[in-house]
Symmetry: C2
Subunit: 351 residues, 2 copies
């Protein structure tokens, strides 16, 4: 990893270790998948962590996610759409990890207004809350590769045009740009990481509307057949959640990231079929994965919003923050499957 | 003009003449600057025109704007944020010229939520209204060059990244993409024209918050001194409103424009100083323009959102729709100044 970040004079110094001790960190969406994994890491770093989550049914929030740290964090159940609540909650915080969002592309098409309220309007009001109540806070926003839509070229770097293919992508695009704007105009230090497909323990598993990864993992563990649309050759890059958390922490502590947008990503990209094959092999190590998989034709409504291959060029964050993913797919899936086999009943009812 | 559009097999055929006779056209923001000029042209083409406008004070709506056609159009005072109203009003329309918007960059920073409600949320609900009540309608959206922010290169083509520098630019970016999305996913034929600085009769003149052009024209007519920030060398391209109206009409009748985004623009670009000099000369033909101009230092808050030079590459619309601006700056300003000298009391109280 160190070789890769030539732009940094002293790569050894690029670390967040020790920098969060005694610092106050607010995580919106803190009971969700990435938020809870981040919280566990921050507690390990000695941070004073406040989790804000609305626990909207069918979103990602789950109190069990923070079981290992439940006595070491404060939990405030609140919705980021609540302007008055956010005005209060941002006060005194050193860091805001702004992860709350509506993340289902399907839901965004069925109820575009709710997606807009959470992914656009609430982002604006969170930033207004910071501006008026805590202008010295540092804000790390969880953006998404979804803003790019169907790639014009691969790998997709940050200079690729944004051409979102669903309401969620449009609203996340706006939400991201409010952050850049408030950095540039008001000096509220903020940046965006465009997360790619992220997987790991604590992913929502109750339904299939938040993407294929969680659903495939659930089916494989339950010995049910996985259905892959098309020929399964669509390429994706996937980050294990600990790697995404590393990026969030590095971005928080380095001022050089302010006002900027960074892709996360991974190499090499993996096909959906390749992912499923590794997943099934891993599950078989645990005595599961007996349902196998099947290729089925693309349903027309899915095909219309399919983006084909996607994988990112993440050299900007590699060069700026010395970040690179460390956990290979098979190892990440092993940790993920082990977690869900142990805690399955906290995430779904087995059929 | 005809030579320029080689991509079109029969450039002579590229006209909207005769294509609006008996057609029903709805214009949101229909009492505003561009909306009213468009309405006058559509009435001349024999269209059945319905104007929807909220007449929000300080926005652009002005009943006097439609004086020449007041008995030939229907006016419905309504706000595009009114979902139920829009659900009804889109029915039976062949065309929707979607021009309603909050257009003041300054206001968007002072009241970002209202900008969001009008430029994001209402756009979504207008498109939902079309989808559920009139999916065969054709929608022409008035986008803006403001979405580009400060140019990375000149002239700015449609492949330039969007990096908006104010809340208005972010919300207009989202509003535009809802249109492209509804075209692509739901087949609601829609497109966006990214208007550049547009000027002409019926521009709002009550205050200076909608841009420098109107304000400079007012000062020049009133024999007051024009203050130009910086050295006055900032380049802009400007379209006379009749040229913008031509583009809106061509885009409405040609299916090849659907789902696409087009810059408007003009050549050569003109400096702010050059614009003011022509304006003052034109005013002097009418016995006004005696206030002159003065260069003053950029106020820091303005400098922060100044975008430097901007002018567009508009070859995409030239090649696709054979559109080119026809009215030179001096001629456009002559028509504009003549209009305001005749009707000044309908637009502002002289000091």
């Amino acid at each position: 990893m160190k070789k890769a970040c030539q732009a940094v004079k002293d790569p050894e110094s690029m670390t967040y270790e020790g920098k969060f001790a005694g610092k106050k960190a607010l995580i919106t969406g803190g009971l969700g998948f990435i938020g809870s994994n981040l919280a566990i890491r921050l507690v390990g770093q000695g941070a004073d962590v406040l989790l804000v989550d609305s626990l909207i049914p069918d979103y990602g929030g789950n109190l069990f996610n923070i079981k290992p740290i439940e006595d070491k964090v404060r939990v405030n159940i609140a919705d980021v759409r609540d302007v008055n609540g956010m005005n209060y909650l941002v006060r005194g915080q050193d860091y805001l990890f702004n992860l709350a969002g509506q993340v289902s592309h399907i839901d965004s098409m069925q109820d575009p207004y709710t997606d807009l309220e959470i992914n656009c309007r609430a982002q604006l009001s969170i930033l207004e809350a910071c501006r008026h109540n805590n202008p010295d806070i540092k804000v790390v926003f969880a953006g998404t590769r979804q803003v790019y839509g169907a790639p014009e070229y691969l790998p997709v770097d940050e200079k690729h045009l944004l051409r979102p293919v669903d309401v969620n992508g449009i609203n996340k695009m706006a939400g991201e740009w409010y952050h850049i704007l408030y950095n540039n105009i008001y000096g509220i230090r903020a940046l965006s990481l465009r997360l790619t497909n992220t997987y790991g323990p604590r992913l929502l598993m109750k339904h299939s509307r938040q993407g294929f990864i969680a659903w495939f993992i659930r089916l494989a563990i339950d010995n049910q057949e996985i259905q892959i649309f098309g020929d399964g050759k669509q390429l994706r890059d996937m980050n294990y959640v600990d790697d995404a958390v590393e990026a969030l922490l590095l971005a928080a502590v380095y001022e050089g990231a302010n006002g900027r947008i960074f892709n996360l990503g991974n190499t090499p990209p993996v096909s959906l079929l390749g992912f499923v094959q590794v997943l099934l092999e891993v599950c078989q190590e645990f005595g599961a994965g007996r349902g196998g998989y099947r290729l089925i034709p693309f349903p027309p409504d899915k095909k219309r919003i399919d983006i084909g291959d996607y994988y990112a060029d993440y050299s900007r964050i590699r060069q700026t923050l010395c970040w690179e993913p460390k956990v290979p797919l098979r190892e990440g899936l092993r940790r993920t499957v082990a977690y869900y086999i142990e805690h399955r009943d906290r995430y779904w009812q087995s059929s």
